[in-house]
Structures are given as structure tokens and as C-alpha cells.
């Protein structure tokens, strides 16, 4: 994004033209992004019933153990999903980039992200079909006699994590593949010239060079995962609540906008903290 430095005030362009170009987008963002956020902030400081300002919505979060538990669940699930997805996707992306012949790579990558194009809601539902009590996996397991009784796979944390990992393996494969392809082959040649075998080349050259890309992908996974309502609601059931489910519950069942607003803001604060914690690594990428 260096284009801005090249733009000079053009001779015949008046003062008004540049502003006329950027104002609609800025206005839209202010009106429908910043203003709603302020409204949400104000709303979070009011009581569901009654008037005046209060911090009770926030203090509820810290005093009510079930609310607190939802945040703990969210963080645990997100951490598991991020780690498992990276561990699964990295070798896969490496195989696509290094082992698959060049002319098949585009096709192999397109195939690997094909289910990306089903609707998000439908993809979670499909996992329900696979994991259900009388679904494909349980039928297969009882059929060959591995287990006598069908396993409880759906409506568990395992199901939520599986649904998430499925989505993020595809996403991370894309980002890590792009990262591996960007590496210049001369690095590998230099390492070989200096006497490093394939394992040492990977550990000391390839892996460190792709680490910034992995961090960006992992952060993206974290942000998208912790804010998602669909996957835990469909696959996890209501056995253990995650934060987005808790937020939606306040709106759906009780119409409690102030509490939902407060919980949303707390969720956003956690993502911001995670961003600040990762910012050091995320910055490397820009250099």
C-alpha cells in the first residue's frame, strides 16, 4: 500500500473532489459502524428495566460463575482449535507445495478448499449428520463391532472443535501454502550448499521463515473462532455455552440488550488484548 505517496495534488483538481470521493465511505463507516458501537457502549451501561446509568451488567459477568464459565469455555475451545488446525494444516500445505508436481498444485489446492463454498450453516449441519447417534461414524463403528453402543459424539465439545477445525484447516492451508510458495528457492540451495540435510533445512530455514505467516493465520483463526455463534450452537448444543451463545441468549430469550451489549464488549476486549499480545509477531510480516 504505497500508492498514497505517489499521489500529488493534481493541477486541475479542486479541493472538493478528493473529499467528495472519500466522504461517502467514511460517512458510512461512521454512521453504521462507529455510531452503533457507541450506542452499544451506552446501552451496556443501562439497566434492562429501570433508568439511569449502572455498571451492573459488567459486574454480573464477574460475579455470575456461569457467565465467567462461558468465557473460559470460549478461550479453551479457541485455543484447542487454533493449535490443532495449525498442526494439521502445516504438513498438508507443505505436501501440496513441495511434493505435488507443479502443474497439479492449482487443482490440488482448489480441491482442498472446495467445501469452503458450501454455506457455513450447512457445513456445521453436515458434521451433525456425520456425528449423530445414528450417523455415519456410529453406524460404521457399531457395524464392524468396535463399540457396542453408539458413542455420544454430537452435542459435545468434541463436535464443536471438529466443526471448527474442518473450517480452519482449509483457511490455514491456503495461507500457509501461499507462504511456502513465496520462499525463494535460493534459501534451500544455500542451506544445501552449507551442508544441511532436508530435516535441518526445514527446522532452521523453512520453518522460521514461514513462522510470521503462521502467526497471522493463527490470529485470524483465533478472532473468527471466538466470535462464531453458528458452529457451537449447532454442534455443541446447549451443554456448555460459549460466549457468542451467551450473547445471543440474552437477546433471544429475554430481549436484554444492555447485558448482551456488555458481554459483546467484554468479548471484543479479549480479542483486542490477544491482538496486542500478538502484535509483536504480527508486525514482522509487514517488514
Amino acid at each position: 500500500m504505497t500508492a498514497a505517496n505517489n499521489g500529488r495534488a493534481l493541477p486541475r483538481a479542486g479541493r472538493a473532489l478528493p473529499w467528495a470521493l472519500v466522504t461517502p465511505a467514511l460517512g458510512w463507516t461512521l454512521l453504521f459502524f462507529v455510531l452503533p458501537f457507541i450506542a452499544m457502549g451506552l446501552s451496556s451501561l443501562t439497566a434492562h428495566e429501570g433508568s439511569g446509568f449502572t455498571v451492573s451488567n459488567y459486574s454480573q459477568f464477574f460475579t455470575n460463575p456461569s457467565y465467567w464459565q462461558a468465557m473460559v469455555n470460549s478461550l479453551e475451545v479457541t485455543a484447542i482449535v487454533t493449535v490443532v488446525s495449525v498442526l494439521l494444516a502445516y504438513p498438508f500445505a507443505w505436501i501440496l507445495a513441495e511434493q505435488v508436481p507443479e502443474r497439479w498444485q492449482r487443482l490440488a489446492l482448489m480441491l482442498a478448499v472446495l467445501p469452503f463454498w458450501t454455506s457455513y450453516v450447512v457445513r456445521s449441519y453436515s458434521w451433525l449428520l456425520v456425528l449423530a447417534q445414528n450417523g455415519v461414524i456410529n453406524r460404521a463403528l457399531t457395524g464392524i463391532g468396535v463399540v457396542a453402543e453408539p458413542l455420544q459424539l454430537a452435542n459435545t465439545r468434541f463436535a464443536t472443535v471438529t466443526g471448527f477445525v474442518h473450517f480452519f484447516v482449509m483457511l490455514l492451508t491456503l495461507t500457509i501454502f501461499a507462504n511456502l510458495k513465496q520462499l525463494s528457492p535460493s534459501y534451500r540451495k544455500a542451506a544445501a550448499d552449507l551442508g544441511a540435510g532436508p530435516v535441518r533445512t526445514f527446522l532452521h530455514v523453512i520453518l522460521p521463515l514461514t513462522l510470521p505467516g503462521i502467526m497471522v493465520g493463527a490470529f485470524l483463526t483465533f478472532v473468527l473462532c471466538i466470535g462464531d455463534y453458528i458452529t457451537p450452537q449447532i454442534l455443541g448444543g446447549n451443554n456448555e455455552l460459549l460466549m457468542p451463545q451467551l450473547v445471543m441468549m440474552q437477546i433471544g430469550r429475554r430481549g436484554d440488550f444492555p447485558l448482551a451489549s456488555a458481554l459483546s464488549i467484554i468479548l471484543m476486549a479479549v480479542v483486542t488484548i490477544a491482538y496486542l499480545a500478538c502484535a509483536r509477531w504480527l508486525k514482522i510480516e509487514r517488514a
Binding site: 500508492a3 472446495l114 454455506s119 471484543m268
Partner: protein
């Protein structure tokens, strides 16, 4: 050693492909049987549930709504994104970095929170829940995307062509319509296409901001209340098929462009 790596690689890749395709195969396979539960053993094939879906007016009108919201909101997002990208790339504006940051800010916030904010605001302002409200939300999430894509593609090369046009006496609007838009067409198209797919698939904002008339993902969500249902399988398979056709078309137009 190299052979072992190859074999292990193949096995691993096959396992991951299997994991990636398992739910989709199950979805499509069990949409093709006539029994009332989409579970094994497979009996079929039958197109019974596709008939049911295509004659369900709630689903078909939701499909039309989705297409309307996606195309109109994407058009708005790409127009606003293009104009602002042009403005920031070509002119020196005070506080440019900060303002560009503001436009891309919604990219860092989850859809749930954007939807919540709009819900609270519209509730206070007395704006009723509607497809229009959901469309406004979709522009909020897609505008930063369109802006970022188009802005990053505006390089020196384009500036020189525009300069040439101005030297030859073209007024500003002619430069915009006859030079900038055609030259930037690939980026504009990419922004529009991405916005279409995100809007088409978006659930939570539409769920929060619409009531009676709603979009396809929300209508599919309503179907899920009935548990495992072959109708959901059939809708899901149809959505998948449409998306695949779109992606292939997109790839083909992109490839042809590259060859030309």
C-alpha cells in the same frame, strides 16, 4: 528416505482430503434418498427432497431475497470502496493514514458484534427489522474489504495512464469512467465477487436484523430446528452446487484474462 517421505506424504494428504470431504459427501449422498431421515443405510437415489425444496415458497423467496441483498449490498460496497480508494491513492489528504485505518477497522471486529451494534442502534432509532437493515450491515462488512483490495492495486502504472489522459484534455469524470474503471476492472471485479460470496453466506447479521422476510442462511437455520432433515440436505447441496458453478466461472474468467 525420500521414498518414505513420499509415501507418508501421500497417506497424510489422503487422510486430510478425507476429513475435508467427509461432511460434504455425506450431505450430498443422503440428500438423494427418499426416506424421511438422512441417515444410513443409503437407499436411493431419489430426487424427492429436491422437489419438496423447489416447491417450498419460503425457501425460494428466501433465495431470491439473498440474491437481492447480496447483489445490491455488494454493488454499494464496491462503489464506495472504489471511490474512496481512488481518492486516497491519488490525492494527498490530511490525516490520510488515520482515515484509511478507520475504513478498514470493521475487518477486525466479529460479525456478531457488528450485528449487535446495529441492532441496538436501529432499536433506539426506531428503524424496523428488514432486509434493508441486513443489507446495510453487509455493506459495513464488505466495504473495508473492497477498499483494501482496490487500494492495494492502484499503482504508478495506472497513475501514468491517467496523467496521459488528462494531458490530452480529458475532464476528471472522463478519466474516471474511461480510464480508471476499465484499468482497475480486475480488482473491482474481485472485490465485488468476494462481497457477493460473503453476503450470500452471512448469517448472524441477517438473523439479528431481519424478521419475516429473511435470507437463505436464516431460513436454513429455521429448518435446523427440526433436527436431521433431508430437506436441509437438499437445500445445502443446491447451495453448494450454485457456489461451485460460480467459483468455476470466476476461475475461467480470471484465467482468460491472464492469457489475453
Amino acid at each position: 528416505m525420500r521414498r518414505i517421505v513420499r509415501i507418508v506424504s501421500w497417506l497424510y494428504a489422503l487422510a486430510v482430503y478425507g476429513f475435508i470431504f467427509l461432511p460434504v459427501v455425506v450431505l450430498v449422498l443422503f440428500s438423494l434418498q427418499s426416506t424421511s431421515f438422512p441417515i444410513p443405510p443409503f437407499t436411493g437415489p431419489s430426487l424427492r427432497w429436491y422437489d419438496v425444496v423447489l416447491s417450498d415458497t419460503r425457501l425460494t423467496s428466501a433465495l431470491v431475497n439473498s440474491l437481492l441483498v447480496a447483489s445490491i449490498s455488494s454493488l454499494a460496497a464496491v462503489t464506495l470502496g472504489f471511490l474512496s480508494a481512488w481518492g486516497f491513492a491519488r490525492f494527498v489528504l490530511p490525516g490520510s493514514g488515520l482515515l484509511r485505518g478507520l475504513i478498514t477497522l470493521p475487518l477486525t471486529v466479529s460479525y456478531l458484534i457488528i450485528g449487535m451494534g446495529l441492532l441496538v442502534l436501529f432499536n433506539w432509532a426506531g428503524v424496523p427489522k428488514s432486509l434493508l437493515a441486513a443489507g446495510i450491515g453487509h455493506v459495513v462488512i464488505n466495504l473495508p474489504l473492497c477498499f483494501a483490495i482496490i487500494y492495494s492495486q492502484m499503482g504508478d502504472h495506472q497513475i501514468n495512464i491517467e496523467r496521459a489522459a488528462r494531458d490530452l484534455g480529458a475532464p476528471e469524470w472522463k478519466v474516471l469512467l474511461l480510464i480508471t474503471v476499465p484499468v482497475m476492472a480486475p480488482a473491482i471485479f474481485a472485490g465485488f465477487f468476494l462481497s457477493m460470496t460473503f453476503s450470500w453466506d452471512e448469517f448472524v447479521i441477517s438473523f439479528l436484523l431481519t424478521r419475516f422476510d429473511t435470507t437463505l442462511p436464516v431460513e436454513i437455520w429455521n429448518l435446523l430446528r427440526s433436527g436431521l432433515n433431508p430437506k436441509t440436505n437438499a437445500v445445502g447441496s443446491l447451495v453448494f452446487a450454485v457456489s461451485i458453478v460460480l467459483v468455476v466461472l470466476f476461475e475461467l474468467t480470471l484465467l482468460r484474462r491472464r492469457k489475453a
